[in-house]
Symmetry: C2
């Protein structure tokens, strides 16, 4: 080793020891007669001192010449600091340097290696190896490591076996787009990278593995929305001989364990809502329940008046903004403008001020009286001092709009405390969702999800009403996990594929091996997959996943550091039997 200690471990108990340290020059302060250097490594910062009384002249000169991010090795003696720094664990000591070796020099870095850097996103990505030196990014990566270690230890203790499934698999047109990989040894043929190990984990259940997990990369060649990555990591899990309740309990256990050991937060049991309830109460299947503002449906108490907007609406629904009666007229106009933006798309917003004296003042005073408003206040749980915001229109649209407003208000009111954790389960998802563009049903979760067993007949008569044994785990307004009980018999799987518009041939071509497997004693099974990047970010108290990924790609799917993707040689294309257009 080039060092005897790291830069985070020396204390007053080490005073008078001779030590060798290595690291990067974080900064140096040259006061002429004395030079201090902050030496940094992964473990911390230790102050080095060179002073004219005790340090020889050549060494003093060398120390003065050290630039930021130089890599150095020093020998010296641990001494007590004259002025201690209680902000860092090594702040009581410093190293009186007797030898200095420059292991590598450094050009001036393109941004400061500080917690708050002056580097913009693109620059930080291009020099990601420098960005990782910053505490914030470095600690995120260490945090991610701790989370995955805990996940593995917990699941292993519960008899789960981590099994590696293949990355070079077969392309299926279902769902989001596959990345494909041309095969040189099988010209004209392609592998695909997995969007998830779904079929393989089901085959492991057929194979009797009983409890499987894997922390695994998955790939999706989709147009990237903000904060999505073409390659992402899942905690992928599957269990045999289970019902939905067993899976919810098992993975509630895992999540509780993580919250406890990682965040020190104990949560007794996670609330549950059905999909229908969540949509009704929060307008959203991944509600943030760190704060209230539940929807109050007002149709019953807004009809038969002269206000046509409400009379003609499929849904009239409001939320109470805590303390919102303080909003000025301008604040409220601003909110109205916000919901009318094309991204939200509301046609307008009705509001009711709940005065401290128990009276109400509203934008629709012409049509409704104080008794009406009292009813509205009751249904939205508005208290004196609140503001009721009401939207109306088509049910699905207005729910989405009010849900967006609810989140925006929570943001403005600072109700989304990243140190608070509010998990919940959403259950009973619809099996199918209507694709109005393609005029067909898609599987809401995926085509292997089992319908509720007593609703299979409804597939023929009212497919949209069929519910699935499918569930999501939601944390702080983000879906962190989702899963389902799977179909495990060939006939139901064939029926499901038929309803998804697969011909018998297509079904056989794409899922034949799975349906064959179902004929050889497939056990009942189900599972769940967690989005690790998102989970880690939320547990880490942050919203963006990018800084929990060592080498992320940008919104165009590019790695700007290594400049990938890139053209390849014609020779390489020839060998693959390919031509670019």
């Amino acid at each position: 080793m080039y060092r005897t200690h790291n830069c985070g471990e020396l204390r007053t108990s080490d005073i008078n020891q001779t030590v060798t340290l290595t690291g990067w020059v974080q900064k140096s302060r040259d006061k002429g007669f004395v030079t201090w250097v902050d030496l940094r490594d992964r473990y911390g910062i230790t102050q080095l001192i060179f002073d004219a009384d005790r340090t020889n002249k050549n060494l003093m000169e060398s120390a003065k010449k050290l630039g930021r991010e130089f890599v150095i090795q020093v020998n010296g003696t641990v001494i007590e600091r004259a002025s201690k720094n209680s902000n860092i664990p090594t702040g009581d000591i410093e190293i009186l340097v007797s030898d200095l070796t420059i292991l590598n020099s450094s050009k001036l870095p393109p941004f400061t290696i500080e917690d708050e850097t002056d580097g913009g996103e693109e620059l930080r990505m291009k020099y990601r190896y420098l960005d990782i030196r910053r505490n914030s990014v470095k600690n995120n990566l260490i945090f991610r490591h701790k989370v995955t270690q805990e996940v593995r230890a917990y699941l292993s203790l519960k008899d789960f076996i981590e099994v590696e499934t293949p990355y070079l698999i077969k392309s299926t047109p279902e769902g989001a787009r596959d990345f494909v990989v041309p095969s040189r040894m099988n010209e004209g043929q392609f592998y695909a990278l997995p969007q998830s190990p779904q079929t393989f984990k089901q085959l492991l259940m057929v194979g009797g593995m009983d409890k499987y997990f894997q922390i695994v990369k998955c790939f999706r060649d989709e147009d990237l929305r903000a904060d999505r990555q073409p390659e992402f990591t899942q905690i992928d899990c599957e269990m045999a001989f289970v019902e939905q309740e067993d899976i919810l309990e098992t993975f509630e256990g895992l999540t509780k364990h993580l919250l406890k050991v990682i965040n020190g937060v104990e949560i007794n049991s996670f609330p549950r809502l059905t999909y229908d309830e969540a949509m009704k109460i929060y307008g959203n299947d991944k509600p943030d329940i760190r704060f209230d503002m539940k929807f109050g449906e007002l149709n019953a108490v807004t009809q038969h008046k002269e206000f046509k907007v409400f009379n003609n609406s499929e849904l009239v629904v409001g939320i109470a903004v805590p303390g919102g009666n303080n909003y000025s007229r301008k604040d409220i106009d601003n909110l109205i403008d916000w919901v009318k933006r094309p991204q939200i798309g509301a046609s307008g917003m009705v509001y009711v001020r709940c005065n401290e004296d128990g009276s109400y003042k509203s934008s629709v005073d012409k049509f409704f009286d104080q008794d009406d408003f009292a009813k509205w206040a009751k249904l939205t749980s508005a208290k004196e001092g609140d503001l009721i915001c009401i939207l109306s229109g088509k049910k699905n649209e207005v729910r989405a709009q009010l849900s967006a407003l609810r989140m925006e208000l929570a943001e403005r009111l600072n109700l989304r405390d990243p140190k608070e954790f509010a998990p919940l389960w959403i259950t009973d998802f619809p099996l199918l969702e209507w694709d109005s563009e393609a005029k067909c049903y898609h599987a809401m979760h995926h085509p292997f999800t089992a319908p509720k067993s007593n609703q299979i007949a409804l597939l023929d008569t009212n497919p949209a009403s069929v519910k699935a044994n499918a569930y999501d785990l939601v944390l702080n307004g983000n879906e962190i996990g989702g899963g389902s009980i799977r179909i495990h018999d060939k006939n139901t799987q064939a029926l499901m594929l038929k309803h998804l518009g697969f011909s018998e041939d297509e079904a056989k071509e794409q899922f034949g091996f799975l349906m064959n497997a179902f004929e050889y004693g497939a056990p009942p099974h189900g599972g769940i997959a967690f989005g690790l990047d998102r989970l880690v970010a939320i547990l880490g108290g942050q919203e963006t996943i990018r800084d929990f990924i060592a080498f992320p790609k940008n919104n165009s799917g590019r790695d700007v550091m290594i400049d990938a993707p890139a053209p390849i040689d014609k020779e390489q294309l020839d060998e693959l039997g390919l031509k670019t257009k």
Copy 2:
């Protein structure tokens, strides 16, 4: 849960308990008045009993109809067995069944689900989900899980951080062939799948992560030799501020830990040989040292006689076969034929019988006398009763031939005990190897490996003689890990690339980002990567890796279960801007 207990856990202490079990019908024996069914799951086998006295008639009938691999659920009472089976942990009890539910039926499986199956390799691969039900494969996968858990726990305890590096990277023409991945969002451009995370782990060192590891899939589009896979798993590791000795100690520690906790074998310290020594003593850089048969070089004691074959040989070298004097003339002719096969390529073999009375009898008695043979015996450590086998020719060729013979003899003599573990380090590999086809030097390890610091000047004068700080860990004749101290300054890296025939532009295009990174304070660093598939197989006492991989590919790189790779839609090709030829 469909069950209260699994099939491996009930004991006499559970007698009289009512239980529910699930699993697969391993076999059933119908004796008319009584039917026994062996119920199997991942955890074991439990015997079910249905008997005419205590079981109702319908249930008796249902039990008789159960086929192999049916998935069933039974309720019943734990009772003591009349005739106990001490071969299985549940052998003292059985379940008197009161209820039976068939959860899924099964077609007759295409091969028997037994430890010794009647299924051939291709059939087992096609129905891998059934193959995994067999104890041998299932236990291998569980074994692999245990090994990886131990690796992660050990390295984490030593302050290593597991960091996920990207799978969608950039193609480089260096070394074996990349799989490429066309990008839809960047038409005409390609990602590549990593052959290893080499550059990323070096960038993590530049980024100050200090100690990194990752258990990670790697990809190589090579013509597959037997027992190679296009996707394989590495334990990939890197450390900063280390010298070779630190890496050897750290990973000797890891390997000792695995041998101890996984195999119960304690090994004090691993022997070390330089590459030159290993080639001289074993003719091989991955010698199996579970047995002796060290090479004895005989040039000095075979010259100046009339036997021209030896006089004209660059190397005359022999090994002593323990007890080989027992071989019949036919046995020896057979050995001579074996070394003359084109795969080995020796032109012949000289032998000396070491008789029990201390005399020698040889195929070259005409040219040499008893004193000569005594010298040969001394140099090959042959004892009375042994047979000395001697090959001669060009040094490199004859070493490879004798090494092959040594392994073949060890196999025939049963000297390769899979329960014995003999690790060793091979160090001081040559930096470069001459490619006689391409008429240029290749990096023996990879182009980032550092030459020994005092030998850099030799790169210009005698490149073949330059040794590297590169090392392999060998276990039972297999390279299970290899690594090196890396170059960490731009100038040396540029020099190295120049010697490998890269122009400045090519070097910049392909490794520019790494060389740039070296300019911003790269620390000294080095690492190692273990081939997990091979390591697990050897620790598991087996030679082939395929049954330690859940879903392996065959020798043509095909997954015969899912039938991949496969052609893709023209539409998909169009979107990628590609045409097949």
